[in-house]
Amino acid sequence: MALASLYLNRLRSLLSVLGIVFGVMAVIIIISVGEGAKIEALRQIERLGTRNVYIQSVTLTEEKKKQARQSHIFGLTLDDARRIENGCKTVVNAAGLKILNVSVMGTPQEITPQVISITPSYGKILMLKIKSGRFINKQDVMLHKEVCVIGHDVSTALGKYGHIGAILRVENHLFKIVGILDRYHKNSDDTGTISARNYNEMVLLPMGVEAWLKRKKTRQMESEAQGLTELILQVDTPEHVLNTALVIKRIMGKIHPDIQSYQIVSPLELLNQTRKTKKMFSLFLLTIASVSLVVGGIGIMNIMLATVSERKKEIGIRRAVGANKIHILFQFLTEAAILTMAGGIIGICFGILSIFLLSYFIPWESAITAKAVFIPLIISSLTGLCSGIYPAWSAANMDPIEALRI
């Protein structure tokens, strides 16, 4: 019945519903694109390991460096990691990493591999996958073996010299390749405090051998050489990460009392921050989109008011044959609800369509989640209900005699 009268005024119904269509479309696009961006950010951060806490060395100013030298504190050491592991039970694994300022010989121009020295647990904590061979093990570190593990791109760049057993020259030393890393999928654009390293262009050496690579040892260089670039601590469960980070901070504060030569970063914390900012942003966009829904609702109210005054006579007839106020109220509410629901569904269809079109232009994928579909549907139904209430109420409270007289 409600459908019949809406069908009767096809063009009018369609036009009045346009506001809702666009509002819903905006909401669904915003939610989907936002959701997609969120998933992308989460994936990037998760790659760093949500169970990990990073301690990174910070470049000191000259003045601070002088102070540091006086107090004989040389940045991050493996000893720090050991102390943290002993002092904090939730830390189950630790690894150190040091970026070496040395160059690899024999690779073509277009690739300049980064050389780092690492402890054996590094591969496990960051879940690096070995394509062939093995990772650097404890023996390599203990015995200062001259071995290395190379990234996927380094291996291809080296060509026939890039296989297991071949010799790689770093500065003046020769290292035997014992393992090649699986191809690592790099993220499109890593921004933020810490980002996942590009392991494809890396040469990994056992921790300790870097001492030989130095040609000249000055006192200053030695002090800098002591410091690790990064300590990575793995926590037993993600729930413990935030508390553990605090404990680590306290332990580090005791070991390095004077100078803050490091920063503690946990990906989980970043994750939470990112979530928060993303939430704020999409809330802001949603507010804008809901303005258009409100405008759409006003359109519906307008058209319903016109319908009610146009169908005064019908209301009178219905009242005369026994309809009560609630019957009339529901009749017009239903019409408004159908109108907006239809608008909502059309909006969702167009929204999904435009998301597919948009996906050619935005770098990340958008995720059409259930949330992205249901929120606009619920919002549009609510708008319909709200904007339908006043016209329906005025219809219901019409004096039947007055209505019949026309």
């Binding site: 019949a4 007839i317 009242r319 005369a320 044959v321 026994g322 309809a323 009560n324 019957h327 019949l404």
Partner: protein
Amino acid sequence: MSDLVSLKDISKTYPLGQAFVPVLKNLDFHLNEGEFAAIMGPSGSGKSTLLNVMGCLDRPTSGTYHLDGEDVSKLSDGQLSAVRSVKIGFIFQQFNLIQHFSVQENVSMPFLYSHISPQLACKKSLQAIEKVGLSHRINHKPFELSGGEMQRVAIARVMATSPKLILADEPTGNLDSKTGERIMDLISELNNLGTTIVVVTHDLHVASRAHTIYTMKDGHFV
């Protein structure tokens, strides 16, 4: 026979600006079940207001109204609607059909507001349409019908719910005399089947069909 309609000391006043205009003045009116009454009188004498009060569309300002033994003068709007739905049928001068509904939809429309199964509603409405001789027109819209046919649809709408009281306000007012005759035939037939009928009219010829003719002037019977 018991009183179907019993109006006692009924007054109705309408506010007009600051003043109140009395339309019905201490009116008494009784109708037995199965009676056929015609109410005549000049315009503004309160005929239509009386009909509205009797039809439970309007409540009297004072006085009591018993319909079928029930005091309806104090009922709420919702309860009055229920009374209208079950006990009262209206026939209007303007036919008052819903333009975008077909004949059958118009006739079965009252059943939307009573607790009757759709199958039964359909059956009853089809029977009523057959009785007024419009079976060949069930899918037509009102604007495709002649005036007489439209009024027959309106009568079918009343018949379908089989009310105790039928109130007709100038049922032949918009029809030529010949068609009006046929409409009055139908109404008389309904009365023969036991339905109480009140017709408001200017037309003496129409009024002559009734058992009793009442004449109103300035808000009361003369």
